[in-house]
Amino acid sequence: MKRKVLAYPYIVWMVLFIVIPMFFILYYAVNVNGQFTVTKFWQTLKDASKWGILWRSVVISLKTTAICLLLGYPIAYILSNMKRSVAGFISVLFFVPMWMNFVLRTYAWHAILEYALPQLSDFLGLEGSVLMVLVYDFLPFMILPLYNTLSKLDRSLLEASRDLGANSVTTFFRVVLPLSVPGIVSGVTMVFIPAITAFTVPVLIGHGKYHLYGMEIEQAFKLLSGQGDYAVGSTLSIILLISVLVSTVIMNHFDKDQQTGGQMW
């Protein structure tokens, strides 16, 4: 028996459940009730409100990513400078929420904003509340890669920088920050793309009134009692896939050394 044979079951599985399903998006975008038609496809493409929602989702995802980076970088930096035994314990506390059920965490904020602190919800408004919960949900995903990169940083480089006369601010901006770019890139990827597609947050926090792109896709498929409008949903998904692809390419451009995908752990 050749070892190659061992991969055959997986190859069959891969073709059946990874490759073929991808084509269904294309198929259903131009197929209504078994009939080939591009009218729905064009209608959806030309629908300006959908593009407006996509733009709004991109903007709120960018805001989420920026806030997560601003809040998360200091956390990762402080943790990476702590004694390892202490940092290990505290970092676990920061990563626990990552494993905690995403929907339940979002629901918890829904309950707090609704029943315990309606003042906060009034103060933040619909968009502010959605933004805060998005930041809450994704913050650990920003801290993890930053912490991994920063704690592997070669300390002797920092000492060298100090020896050569740089103060701590210069050392940070000229040495630490450039060296942590891989962590920043993978943190941004782990926050930005899931934030565009998150639909639990606009549904549970925005009460379905604050439309974001992921929610738009969900509703296209799920709203009509299980039937859904496959043509509209598929077209929206194609646009989403292309946007994600473009942003991945842009982000990989910033970090050429990193291998593509699969490096997040």
Partner: protein, 293 residues
Amino acid sequence: MVKKAGKSLKYVYLGLMLFFLYIPIIYLIVFSFNNFGTGRRVSYTNIGAWKGFTLSNYSNIFTGEAGKALLLTLEIAAISSVAATVIGTAAAIGIYAMKKGPRNVILNVSQLPMVNPDLVTGITFMMLFAFVNSLLAKLNIGQIGDIPKLVIAHVTFSIPYVIFSVMPRLRQSSGMLYEAAMDLGCSPTKALMKVVIPDIMPGISSGFIMALTMSLDDFVVSYFVSDLSSVLSVYIYSSARGTKGVNPALATVIFIPLVTLLLIVNLRRLSKEREYEIQSKKVKMKDKGGNTK
């Protein structure tokens, strides 16, 4: 003085951030002891007003819809992570033995489920099953149920994680081992079982744990794939949108085992690291002739 102030400022910042991260979880845990009424008319929606202490929310978890969903979650996670580990490990060994061309093609396709947004993965599965079920309906053979659908979907998004955690192990271990075992009289199967698999075991087990957590954690894919009965996160989502709300005791049931597990794993790793630190310090002391601070 300034340095000390800076240090305490750091701790204040970390404390505030931890507070932000834990406030919703603590909130749910506190209200899991709240009395929401009894019987069929129990409603968890008004979780802001304290109406007295009770433990009945905990006994309610394991009955009814929530109990079923919890059980199904564990079932799907167990089946799919074992299946993904077996298929994925075999695949990794096979792919590793291939020529560069086909190997790269397969590895690139395998990355699709990791790179694709969950939403798209969920939708593609929903369409695939809808298509297959409509074919089956025409042929009058019956339908694919929720459980097989969930298992197929979970296995598919877990396999790549198994492959990509076994692969580095295979690269680290010597390719000669397999041939050496056969030269010494092992059959290929025996060589795999007795030599290759034990050698890559750490990769297999970390792949298994990854597959398990991916499955336990999944919401989006399961939400699109299943129709009638589904996993816990889908149950939480639909009851959060419904009129009855979510039983906050679920937070405790998920949170406590999770923290315990992570702390145990981490403490074990920490104690190993500590040991390593002490040992390397000893070596340093020897090197520098006891010249440490």
